[in-house]
């Protein structure tokens, strides 16, 4: 039998508490998650090599400069730019997302749906900042993976000058596996 003590193995810095506590968090935002590295062509191309994406706008500098004003990043890796490094000499940060910060019983997160609107391409040289706001939390639900709550949050991604690049509405299920 599993103990009732929830343990965070997710690496997301989960806070634990009750649904009633969580409801008081609706409308709150995280601090700004500032990218630890700027957008660079080698990072773009490492990502593209993992998904075998040969789009010239990500690989061909002359082509990208002519059409976009520089090498651009694929939209599928936007979240990457604000994820902290896994180790730093002064100690690592964890990314602040409301689905983790909001106190709830669930110790396991799984993504349900994500809707992005994109306004501007992400270009080499940008430093990306993300702020996440808690929109809604469902009452307790049981699915095939476990029992927990659906959490809706809205993230805004901006460059270092405040230019709005993208907005994402994310629904995540935070649950506990039933024994």
């Amino acid at each position: 039998m599993r103990s009732n003590q929830a343990v965070d193995e997710s690496g997301l810095g989960l806070n634990f508490g009750t649904y009633e506590e969580a409801l008081g968090w609706i409308g709150r935002s995280t601090e700004a998650n500032i990218g630890e590295v700027p957008v660079t062509a080698p990072m773009i191309q490492l990502y593209c090599s993992a998904v075998e994406d040969g789009n010239r706008s990500y690989w061909d500098r002359a082509f990208a400069e002519e059409h976009w004003g520089g090498v651009i990043a694929p939209p599928g890796m936007l979240q990457t730019w604000t994820i902290p490094m896994q180790w730093r000499p002064e100690g690592r940060r964890t990314i602040a997302v409301m689905a983790a910060k909001v106190p709830l019983p669930g110790d396991k997160p799984i993504n349900v749906s994500t809707e992005f609107e994109f306004f501007e391409p992400v270009r080499e040289g940008m430093v990306i900042t993300m702020i996440d706001r808690l929109e809604a939390i469902s009452p307790e639900k049981t699915t095939r993976v476990g029992t927990g709550h659906f959490i809706t949050s809205v993230s805004e991604y901006r460059d270092q000058h405040g230019l709005l690049l993208a907005r994402a509405t994310n629904i995540l299920f935070r649950y506990r596996v039933l024994d």
Partner: protein, 146 residues
């Protein structure tokens, strides 16, 4: 326009996109974690993944997003700008899976700024199982627009 780019005028509602295929190996799963920086343990630690109620490490949301984006942009070309993408997760992608992406043009329309937009429905399968559906809008260049 050339350069493998489709223009808005060349698109018709109901068109099927060419099928996109990717063979997912353990190497690809690890390379994707390294390239995408998502170190949530379900994507690299088999024992954690099994405790999470799935059979093995599984590819993350970014990978699903990228499979949808590749299905659309491999067809539409490098000057395509994705303006909207909604994905719904329906299952997992595991190392060893053959992933395919299919798409169909749903609607052609013009935005308030006059730019040509195309709505596309995408389905991503691992083997025969649908693991993700995508509802996308792209902005395409116009013929003679450059």
């Amino acid at each position: 326009m050339g350069a493998g780019q489709i223009c808005w005028q060349d698109v018709e509602e109901g068109m099927d996109l060419p099928v996109m295929t990717v063979e997912v190996s353990y190497k690809m799963a690890i390379l994707h974690v390294a390239g995408g920086w998502d170190y949530m343990p379900g994507h690299h630690e088999p024992a954690y993944a099994r405790r999470q109620g799935v059979k093995d490490i599984f590819l993350n949301t970014l990978f699903h997003q990228s499979m949808v984006d590749r299905t659309v942009c491999d067809w539409a070309g490098p000057l395509t700008f994705l303006t909207r993408r909604k994905i719904a997760m329906a299952g997992q992608i595991y190392p060893g899976d053959s992933v395919t992406g299919t798409g169909k043009v749903k609607r052609l329309w013009r935005a308030e700024d006059g730019s040509g937009r195309v709505d596309i429905d995408v389905q991503i399968r691992a083997g025969d199982e649908i693991v993700c559906t995508g509802d996308c809008t792209v902005r395409l260049p116009e013929r003679g627009g450059e």
